[in-house]
Symmetry: C2
Subunit: 209 residues, 2 copies
Amino acid sequence: MSTEPSGAADPRAKTVLRAREGIALPLRAGERLRITNLHGGQVVDTWALARTDLREYLSMQHTRTSLGKLVPVTGDHLYSSSRRPLLTLVDDTSPGAHDTLIAACDRERYRQLGAAGHHANCADNFRRALSVRGIQPDHVPSPLNLFMHIAWREDGGLEFLASPARAGDYVTLEAVTDVTVVLSACPMDLNPINAGGPQDVGIEVLPVP
Amino acid sequence: MSTEPSGAADPRAKTVLRAREGIALPLRAGERLRITNLHGGQVVDTWALARTDLREYLSMQHTRTSLGKLVPVTGDHLYSSSRRPLLTLVDDTSPGAHDTLIAACDRERYRQLGAAGHHANCADNFRRALSVRGIQPDHVPSPLNLFMHIAWREDGGLEFLASPARAGDYVTLEAVTDVTVVLSACPMDLNPINAGGPQDVGIEVLPVP
């Protein structure tokens, strides 16, 4: 038996999410998840499902509606398909470029971009990470794309730009209620969003303060 | 037996969608659906499901990604969750304000806006219209909100403005493949989006040219 505090023995406490891979992490209300751009320039697709009802998902369309904003900032709640806050963005040391507009990359996206053969993708990472925990999602919700820089013009045009996140920049999300969070270190290498090519991401679960 | 052309006998040919109500309409590839703002200022929440796979839905996040735009314009395809074009926006006589950002209104939205008791809403209209056709959707996708004026600022702030659609303005959607389209004459009366309060909407299915 370990005599360390239970938080220190938590296998979720500090880990590395490998480039191009996904992970699902249960969080209890009050726990915080810190997502660190270890090398800079890396997009992290982020989802959450309520633990009490797996059909209730973190929803970008409901978050935009509740916030009246395209992009959440520090202090904002992130809302579910039932208009409940699931997460709070409690800390952000990055330049603040995050995206709520763009769908998760998937096999068809890479086929249309000219990839030859199979390409790792965020939609498969989402499904696989949940499958490991016995969850079969009915669809792939539109993710919160942390560190992703999608610029909007006055005329509504969108541009896919390189992530401005620097090495060591992090975002901290706090669970408002019990959730399962899914992260994917986006494998995109056919447009400029991942500034240095797909890279590893740091993940740390911080105990309830 | 009618001796009129078959198109004229089609019960979908020309109808009125009552204010605050919804309807589901099957469209075959090539058929066109004209949606007319009979009185001006009315938002129409619009969804589509592929007939070959009801899990494939018209997706605002995939449409924004494929178009590189916040709002589609005449000539644009509207894309599914599988990145296939389901519809084409072939005609638009309105000022062009349409929205892809805001979730369908639902019971909780009206509760949060202070409505007392039950309030008609687009999410229930979507589910009810499909239920009549024996379809139980697994979630309510983010709709294409025709005629809805959501303005975005440079800083990402969003504003809910009155629909600028005039009486008689219409949008025509062409089915690229066989789809079921769902429309809801949005019942919102607690913010300014429906300029004249909820109003009836004209619907017309035009035969393959």
